[in-house]
Symmetry: C2
Subunit: 155 residues, 2 copies
Amino acid sequence: MRDDDNTEEVTLGRIETEVALLMRLGEATRRATGTAEHRVLDRAAYVILRHLDQAGPQNVSALAARLNLDGSTVTRQVSALQRDGLIARTPDPADGRGTVISPTPAGLQRMAAVRAARTRLYGDILAGWTSDDRDTLADMLHRLNEALDARNRRR
Amino acid sequence: MRDDDNTEEVTLGRIETEVALLMRLGEATRRATGTAEHRVLDRAAYVILRHLDQAGPQNVSALAARLNLDGSTVTRQVSALQRDGLIARTPDPADGRGTVISPTPAGLQRMAAVRAARTRLYGDILAGWTSDDRDTLADMLHRLNEALDARNRRR
DNA sequence: TGATTTACCTGTACGATACAGCTATCTGGG
DNA sequence: CCCAGATAGCTGTATCGTACAGGTAAATCA
């Protein structure tokens, strides 16, 4: 193995380690932070509302495909969200099999509150960082997600 | 709100978004990739072995504290690992209540195999990236984890 | 030495998820 | 126009990771 290959290997190993650690810490942070105030919206519900807000009302299948989740999972999560009045189901006028999921005002408001709380949390966590570093972090995460997503869709 | 505050806010929002997305994609990737070959070692087991390998044999409580997990969770995971012959429990000679957990050779080998597979996976995912970008990504993730960890411990 | 703390385990519960199988609906080739 | 297959969504069931509460045994401290 040449030196180049080796340093590449080391970097990949570091990335692997850090991503694993981030998933773990992220979970822990969510648990620790969430319980008090914005556990009112668990992880899955939050991403669903985020996506509906950003991409507009859509049916369960589209949601599932976009979020890399099984349809049954989304069905249940949507049911819970509906029970809590955070989304509404309307029959799809163009397809009798489908139902269109849209966020309710309450859902959007709840989502925004959680989002704001999380943003504040990151402000706290990254308090000592420069603007440049924060930008770089955001860019790198974005590019990593793109790469991961591309890979997931390819398979 | 001044402009500066606003752009800061935007960046924090991006970071929040990207971390949430990464957690989701990471899970999806783990599920998709894992089933075939290295589902032989689920997420929790892998981090435990990683930590034992890196920080040396230790008892359940220390492990739980380090991994931000409840003791009962670690107890069960350790039991599963022991059942599979990947770790060994020995009574703590210095404390009759404790048991020291150490990885077995089989455990280390299994861990290394998973690690290698994941490293390969990242090599695949980041195939188009320059060395510099990979380094930057690794650095940023590392710093983010440090910040998260510091914050978790503070609370 | 007795009270408190610590280390671990067990019972129980919950959330997130997948897969298999069901029904209702849609769609395209004869 | 009609039926065969595809698709959308739901329900049953199972698994994993996790937490919390409560129990027992050992350690420690006043």
